[in-house]
Amino acid sequence: MTTPTLDPPAELRAKRFGLGDRVFSNLALLAGLTILVALAAVFVFLAIRGIPGLSADKSIYGPGSTNFWEYAGKALFGTCLSAVIAMIIAVPFSLGLALFISHYAPRRLAVPVAYVIDLLAAVPSVVFGLWGARTLAPALVPTQDWLNAHLGFIPLFGGTPYSAGRTMFVAAIVLAIMIIPITTAICREVFAQTPRLQEEAALALGATRWEMVRYAVFPHSRSGVVAGIMLGLGRAMGETMAVAMILSAGDPIVTFHLVTSENPQTIASNIAQKFYGDNTNIQSVLLATGLVLFLFTFLVNFTARALVARSERKLS
């Protein structure tokens, strides 16, 4: 991002670039650099502490894996599965909610609804974890039993349903609830940024409300919506506490069954569950899986950004 700079007249220059400006610009620079340094520090820390984990003794990887890549791959599978299911649930909800707030609801309703959704983002993940494990999971046991009984031929709902309910199904629903506020907030803002003139032009041409949204609002806010979805996806992949408390998962495994007691482990929850245990040999392995997650989220973000940039170019 480059911002055009205007050279101020000479007599003002001295004043403009006075002490205040210099302090402020240095502070801004410092803040910018801090992010880079922090990211680099996290990376270096994970790399240094994690490298021994890449080639640890076979027994450390547990009963299901023989080497690091198998172990990390299985955990990454769990991370992706939970995040993807959560996104499938959350994205339509978020888009609908955001549109409702920005374009459909009367102002008297839109403001409180937006406020409540923002409040949802402030709920700590431990609370979501406790609620998910102790209230939502048992409450969804009949639903999961029903899915298993009637849709069990689909592998997703196959197997023996878990009577305590702490399954991937519930974890993904809780994740979805956790990312809805973030995605909604950003989508709402970008929808509201649509130029009023374009909206009115669409309506004046005889478009219905939906057609106006489709032809004026969506194209204008594409990159913002993708950014919102990416932030949500990032949260879903990195969410630790809630998943660790809800998901019944031990050793990382690969399974598409969503309602059984044997669930794939996610990287973040695997670290949270195992880091401070009786066996500390696994710590370097866990840190190395953290590095895998770190790089993977980067990759996902870059890919998404590249896709958006390409589609924007096509549009213009």
Binding site: A31, A41, R49, G250, G277, T280
Partner: protein, 375 residues
Amino acid sequence: MNTTFLRRAIVPGVAAIALAASLAACGSSDDDTTSASGGDSSASAGGSATNLSGSLAGGGSSAQEKAQDIWRAGFGASNPDAKITYESVGSGTGRDNFISGSYKFAGSDSAMESDELTSAKKTCGSDPVEFPVFISPIDVIYNLKGVDSLKLDAPTIAKIFNGTITTWDDPAIKALNPDASLPSTKIQPVHRSDSSGTTDNFTDYLHQASGGAWKDDHSSDWPLQGGAAAKGTDGVVSSVKSGDGTISYADDSGVQGQGLGIAQIKVGSQFVTPSADGAAAGLAASQVATGTPATVLQYNINRKTTDPKTYPIFMASYEIACSTYSDSGTAALVKGFLSYMISDQGQAAAAKNAFSAPLPADISAKEQAIVDKIS
């Protein structure tokens, strides 16, 4: 306007979080702790000194946490100037931090291996001290509608947890419970997802007592794939509470008052309900491990007892310290605190509040003799 506001809020927020995370991560590796200072009064010969002062940092086993709180409060009452901290970071981290020198004492659910003993000796400059201080029964808990009492033996438990027995009306369970009306509900065994001393002791029991039905050696990580899992005692207890047909194992202190079914375990020809006394008797019936330094009292727990007074599934959690400290104040403080832990008073307080089993008298006498050597 709102977007930019959001962006402004998010960017520094993310930076701050990342920074905090990296700092916390760096910090956790080298928890520096203040060493004891200014122990201006020395311990008396019996180790029952009062008015000790200074600070002492320790940590480890989370199973000991409740007991440690009680011991610190009790010790602090007679030594108001002594500041003792106990961080419940897990046994493994406790041992690591003791070996790295940042803890002056540590609590651990498993005894140190020989290589750890060697490293600890290097840190201490003398033989380390290690002995059990906290004995706690491990209950086999279950939740099955209409079944209020359940009798199990080691081979059956092993087959339930390794997936050989899959329904509650299996002939093996029926044979042990002829009077119970067992439903055909599927069994859902729940194990600990974190690596824990409870799992270590439970698998040790299965390994020793199941007569070959359990193939794996004892291990603090659950050795099999599959089955339900939950983190921590609290996690397995609440999983069992909410799921019909579940079975798990948990430290007795976490099970008390939860209204869960607790299985009676076959010992010899009788069925025994878990009890603190049974666990203490089980430790008394076990062999002291040989080949360790004189200041180390490790037990090879005998899970195959046939004496119905013993309960074989229990955990003996150890305390680890040095036998010599360079600072006499620290030595006095460690000596005083360890003496309090194993004293009748300390053990009774832990038994009352943490549901542990008081140490048998002859074992605590042996341990006191070790503590007396600390200087």
